[in-house]
């Protein structure tokens, strides 16, 4: 299975980069930093059925960092929620694949996200609904690290702990960069794990590009009964493409044709 997770992550990277190139718009840095997390979730963890995307007992995954829609759509298409060919319509006129995901247009999308700090409150509400029903389905929310500067996340963090939502897991894509700068320069987040712990969450830190480590943590939920789970996934913005890694400009820079070719070449060499 882990070979498959690696392969799927590589495909998410290649497809999302091609999508951004074609659309001349997008957020490749964050697509690449979150690709491994998405691969582990969609191909190793989430109990979802692309043929029945609104089954009441499905797991919920909320991509709070909605600007990384390229990676999300690539994962959803590979998981069978819609045809791979649809990825070619990314941000084209009348495409369902808007720059930020629309739950009413794209099967498998649980929430309309894009403005930051929306996903975790929605995830907390979904997790609370499952608790009320004594249902076994789980809720996962992927947030960007810069996104945690939005106060609504901490409102939700407080509330999730208060209600003992151990069926809720937030994964922080800790790639250390946001649009304009390094997170610690723009607005310091550290000590990040301590913040979550102080809000009543159980925290695990993990290499966000290590499929095996991510997978085994996500198999062992809750980390501690009665408490919501926070995985701080240490990642690299632009991961997998040498000239994009850890470079802030790739937050939303669009690769030229030549850059795309070089990127795909590197990824193909590393992929399987």
């Amino acid at each position: 299975m882990h070979d498959d997770l690696v392969k799927q992550a590589n495909l998410i990277r290649r497809r999302s980069l091609a999508m951004v190139h074609r659309a001349r718009l997008g957020h490749p840095g964050g697509d690449l930093s979150s690709a491994d997390i998405l691969s582990v979730l969609y191909f190793g963890v989430l109990r979802i059925d692309p043929k029945d995307p609104s089954a009441p007992d499905r797991d919920r995954f909320i991509m709070s960092k909605g600007h990384c829609s390229g990676a999300l759509y690539a994962a959803l298409a590979a998981a069978g929620f819609f045809p791979l060919e649809d990825l070619d319509t990314y941000m084209q006129p009348l495409s369902a694949l808007n720059g930020h995901p629309d739950r009413n247009k794209v099967p498998g999308v649980e929430a309309c996200t894009g403005p930051l700090g929306h996903g975790l409150p929605i995830g907390a509400g979904a997790a609370l609904a499952a608790k009320m029903d004594g249902a076994a389905w789980r809720t996962y929310v992927l947030v960007g690290d810069g996104e945690l500067q939005e106060g609504s996340n901490w409102e939700a963090a407080m509330m999730a702990a208060h209600y003992g939502l151990d069926n809720l897991t937030v994964i922080v894509d800790r790639n250390r960069f946001q649009q304009g700068d390094a997170t610690e320069t723009a607005m310091r987040l550290e000590p990040l794990a301590d913040k979550w712990r102080a809000f009543g969450w159980t925290v695990a830190e993990v290499d966000g590009h290590d499929h095996e480590a991510l997978w085994s943590l996500l198999q062992g939920l809750p980390l501690q009964p009665g408490k919501p789970n926070c995985l701080i996934a240490h990642t690299h913005k632009g991961k997998g493409v040498s000239f994009m890694e850890d470079r802030v400009e790739w937050h939303h820079r669009v690769p030229s044709g030549e850059e795309l070719d070089r990127a795909l070449e590197e990824l193909e060499a590393h992929g399987q």
Partner: protein, 323 residues
């Protein structure tokens, strides 16, 4: 003087009726328990009562999530915070996301009186009216409030229900059937139409009574659903009575008056007067005093209607002289 009622009681009672019949109904609040009159709901349905604390962005997000998980959340809080503090969540999580969430804005308009403009909610209709998919209901009396609570629960999708804490008389005849999107003609008339909702409906009716004594026949329309607008009722009123006065416990910008004007100007242009708060923050004063201050009284409505009608008579006379 007829008996006055606090619509929040009818609201709470209807909510409990609903919850007894439908296990999906949950209440979510930003600690506005007493002011939303949901203390008894909490006692009866503690497992379906969610207090998120004083955190309105999270309040709306959590409600959207509960709806995603199959619940029908009724979100209770002061209208000013419920809309203004969480407007982007209302736009994106509820409107754009078409979440089945019922926003119940309490103590709307200037109900908080001398607490001042921070607590007044005279912008909420303008803010919510521009959000697609979001229906807006402003009931006028306890019976309409009760029926509206049941009706919005049956409607799939987000709704903003604007509830006042100002005591109001019953304005509807026995057997009244509230329907989302349908305005109610509470008095027939041919000379001018008074269009109101919420706390202003009883005042519009009183104004129509005063106008009747002067020989002016005013139609009174309770436009309790602001969105989707009952265009037919509004356009007929414009065409058949030739003049419209709107009155709302809200800014004159972006609310009921604007909605009516938008419909009238394109389909049946007619002179209008828009009564409300004229684009200012209210001075300090209790609610009834503020209503007087801004002319949101039967007399104020009568005067505006009179001006329109006599202005038209004058115009017609001048036109005839011109012939």
């Amino acid at each position: 003087m007829s008996e006055l009622f606090d619509c929040r009681q009818a609201f709470a009672q209807a909510l409990e009726e609903l919850a007894s019949a439908d296990p999906r109904i949950v209440v979510v609040t930003n600690d506005s328990i007493g002011s939303s009159n949901i203390t008894n709901f909490r006692k009866r349905f503690p497992e379906r009562f969610v207090n998120v604390g004083i955190a309105e962005q999270n309040l709306i997000g959590v409600s959207a999530g509960l709806a995603n998980g199959g619940k029908t959340p009724f979100v209770c809080g002061a209208a000013c915070f419920l809309t203004g503090r969480s407007l982007e969540q209302v736009k994106v999580d509820l409107g754009y996301g078409r979440a089945n969430v019922k926003l119940c804005g309490m103590s709307s308009g200037m109900a908080y009186g001398a607490l001042g403009p921070t607590h007044h909610s005279i912008e909420d209709l303008a803010w919510t009216r521009v959000i697609p998919n979001l229906a807006i209901v402003v009931p006028a009396d306890p019976e309409e409030t009760r029926q509206a609570v049941h009706a919005i629960a049956r409607t799939d999708g987000p709704v903003f229900l604007r509830v006042s804490r100002m005591p109001v008389p019953a304005v509807h005849p026995a057997g009244y059937q509230f329907q989302i999107g349908r305005a109610a003609v509470l008095r027939e008339g041919t000379d001018v139409t008074l269009i109101a909702n919420g706390t202003m409906v009883s005042r519009a009716l009183a104004a129509a009574g005063m106008l009747g004594e002067e020989g002016i026949q005013a139609r009174v329309l309770n436009l309790s659903t602001l969105k989707p607008l009952d265009r037919e009722a509004v356009i007929s009123a414009a065409g058949e009575t030739g003049a419209i006065v709107t009155v709302e416990e809200h800014s004159i910008h972006g609310g009921l008056g604007s909605a009516v004007a938008e419909a009238v100007v394109s389909a049946a242009p007619a002179p209008m007067r828009i009564l409300g708060v004229p684009g200012v923050f209210a001075p300090t004063g209790p609610t009834p005093w503020l209503f007087e201050h801004f002319g949101l009284t039967a007399q104020g409505i009568r005067d505006a209607a009179r001006e329109l009608v006599y202005g038209r008579v004058r115009d017609e006379a001048q036109t005839r002289t011109g012939d």
